[in-house]
């Protein structure tokens, strides 16, 4: 809560992280799955002692080198730039909490690059057996990068014993790292990586010219890299789902069951699409390269790659949305507000608690409530909402026909958005049963609004100007002002 806000119109700053991250994941997953592919394929070439497969590996690894070391590394740095700008609070917690692990991650990453360069440039110059070992070493090191980042990523959602219910840190970083979702998520990512490695390999294999038998053999071989995900993937996905926080599980279940009922959440839609893409992709690989390798060409391979990207996009998007409304589950909300900070901010007031908002607020006139409200919006809402127009979760669109009263009521409701009511009752056997229920319908989707009542009022005043009615009123006012200003006998002394 103590950093400035990066305003990105239309898509919001979250999507800047999202787009870079999804692109990065699509390449970095290939870097690891592709490592396994190179190692196994080179073992195959070694066993068969076949130069034609070696030639293919050479071609494939050149593509691999360019893609992973250039685009993969650049986009990885891009994520750091983006989260540093868009969510500095979250980034700082990640760095402070996982410092040691980031060190390990970057060590693995540097070693990964070095090993791959060694692997690529010693190809054909080194003893075949040793070179094959080098391929396996590369895979081992790249797996290390996955191992570390997987702990950090899953730790952001299922942080195990790291926190207590109030969002205070009680455990060690290892509780957060080796969290309940660690192993299933690791397995799922490996399956996805194998599948992606297969899809990328289909692309390079489809460009083989003049050696139909080899091409068809390699196409079928690459297609089989889908198998682990097809067979064991669903099991691990179920395991993973059971490790999620109960509230998240509830949102998924209610979202998926109300998927049929029109007003389904975005998350359910994206999970549904993710399932569709996974099955569709496997179906395409079956009818395409696996059953009909001789009809398979580069255009088809690019179609598969695009579908694979669609799968990764929906998979990463839904995983991010599962964490809503937190950036670090149960600890920090997506707007940088820490859960254990709520009472303090409500007591002190928002502008007093947030240095940047206070500094900006000091430049405004005291009676400028709309201006103060706009600052409230920037610092508390803009990490997920855009203000005007038809942008991502735009308030102008979401507020719709709501009037001043409705908006004020909404803000009052949002103040208690973190409150969980528990109710004691007796079941048939006379045991005490505690049922918990969120006080507001937005719980699990949005953070609470914090601040003094006058600050909340300022926020709703500002929101009114964004709503349809407010916009219309604003336009009329502006027109009236224009009319008076342009009137020849205007007495305004404004320059």
């Amino acid at each position: 809560m103590s950093y400035p806000v990066w305003e990105v119109p239309n898509i919001g700053n979250g999507w800047i992280i999202g787009l870079i991250a999804i692109f990065h994941v699509f390449i970095s997953h290939f870097a690891i799955g592709g490592g396994a592919f190179l190692a196994l394929t080179e073992t195959l070439a070694y066993k068969k002692n076949d130069d034609r497969i070696y030639d293919y590996i050479k071609k494939h690894s050149k593509f691999f080198l360019l893609l992973t070391t250039v685009l993969g590394a650049v986009s990885g740095v891009g994520i750091w730039w983006a989260i540093g700008l868009a969510n500095p609070s979250g980034a700082s917690v990640l760095i402070q909490n996982f410092g040691l692990f980031w060190g390990a991650e970057w060590t693995f990453f540097a070693a990964e690059l070095a090993t791959f360069l060694a692997y690529y440039y010693t190809m054909g110059k080194m003893d075949k057996k040793n070179h094959c070992v080098l391929a396996w070493i590369y895979f081992g090191i790249s797996f290390g990068t996955l191992f570390v980042i997987n702990g950090i990523l899953t730790g952001m959602l299922t942080n195990g014993g790291w926190l207590n219910a109030q969002g205070n840190i009680v455990g060690t970083v290892y509780d957060s790292f080796f969290n309940p979702a660690f192993w299933p998520a690791l397995a799922i990512r490996l399956f996805i990586m194998f599948a992606l490695a297969g899809i990328y390999a289909l692309l390079t294999a489809s460009t083989i010219k003049g050696q139909d038998d080899l091409k068809q053999y390699l196409l079928r071989y690459s297609a089989k890299w889908m198998l682990p995900g097809l067979i064991a993937g669903p099991l691990f996905v179920v395991w993973y789902m059971f490790t999620l926080p109960p509230a998240t599980q509830q949102v998924i279940v209610s979202g998926l069951s109300s998927l049929g009922e029109g007003n389904f959440s975005m998350m359910a839609k994206v999970i549904f699409l993710c399932i569709v893409f996974a099955t569709g992709l496997i179906g395409m690989v079956i009818v395409g390269p696996f059953l009909n390798p001789k009809g398979f060409n580069t255009t088809f391979a690019l179609m598969l790659l695009a579908s694979g990207f669609g799968f990764m996009f929906t998979e990463e998007w839904s995983r991010e949305m599962m964490r809503k409304p937190y950036v670090i589950y149960n600890y920090m909300y997506s707007n940088g507000l820490r859960k254990n900070q709520i009472a303090q901010v409500n007591a002190d007031g928002f502008f007093k608690s947030n240095a940047w908002a206070r500094a900006e607020g000091a430049t405004l006139a005291k009676e400028d409530t709309v201006g103060h409200g706009k600052l409230m919006f920037r610092y508390q809402c803009m990490s997920c909402h855009t203000a005007t127009g038809n942008g991502y979760r735009s308030m102008a669109r979401l507020l719709g026909e709501r009037d001043e009263n409705a908006i004020a009521n909404l803000i009052t409701l949002m103040k208690d958005n973190h409150v969980i009511l528990s109710e004691e009752s007796k079941d048939e056997k006379g045991n005490t049963v505690i049922t918990t229920k969120a006080k507001t319908p937005y719980n699990g989707y949005m953070p609470p609004v914090v601040g003094h009542q006058d600050e909340l009022d300022a926020l709703s005043k500002y929101l009114v100007t964004l709503s349809k009615k407010g916009m219309e009123a604003g336009a009329e006012k502006a027109e009236a002002q224009m009319a008076t200003e342009s009137a020849p006998q205007s007495t305004t002394t404004k320059s």
Binding site: N49, R52, D213, T279, K294
Partner: protein, 176 residues
């Protein structure tokens, strides 16, 4: 795209490969018929599984909207002189009200216990009759008098309150 096998063979003469993968590929290929069948089978099974759930839930009839009521005012007593009857809906249940010639009033769930037709009161014979298969019930108790019904009609309570005929379920909460 498919290449002519001839070109592949020309390549082989130039750079003799260690393996001829076409043999290996052919070896693992099923016979054409099985091949087609297997393809359609696998693809169909995966797709059908994904599609079946949503499709069934779309086609599944919505939850029955049975209306349950505790009380119904049928009308003024004067509208139903002795010997008359009226078929009406008690919530979503078809029901039958009889003002017997002897002056007593009865109401039943008018669903015949045989195959679920709606029964009617026959004034001339003073019985409840089901036109579908000839089941006959006693107009006072609802017990079976003749015909195929396995059991009597379920009773409803008919009473007069302030000059109006009021129908209630036999027991509060019991299945009418």
């Amino acid at each position: 795209m498919m290449m002519m096998m001839a070109t592949g063979q020309e390549e082989k003469i130039e750079t003799p490969p260690t393996f001829d993968y076409s043999a290996e590929t052919a070896g693992e290929t099923m016979s054409r018929r099985l091949f087609m069948g297997g393809m359609i089978g696998v693809f169909g099974a995966v797709m059908a599984a994904v599609a079946a759930g949503p499709l069934l839930s779309y086609l599944w009839p919505p939850k029955s909207t049975a209306i349950k009521i505790d009380k119904l005012v049928l009308g003024k007593v004067a509208e139903f002189p002795a010997g008359t009857s009226k078929n009406f809906k008690f919530g979503s249940i078809p029901a039958l009200f009889i003002h017997s010639p002897d002056g007593s009033m009865h109401a039943f769930n008018a669903t015949c216990s045989h195959l679920g037709c709606t029964v009617q009161y026959q004034q001339a014979k003073n019985n409840i009759y089901c036109a579908c298969h000839g089941g006959t019930y006693d107009p006072a108790t609802g017990n079976v008098v003749a015909g195929p019904p396995p059991e009597g009609l379920h009773k409803l309570l008919a009473s007069v309150e302030a000059g109006e005929i009021v129908i209630r379920p036999e027991k509060a909460g019991a299945k009418a």
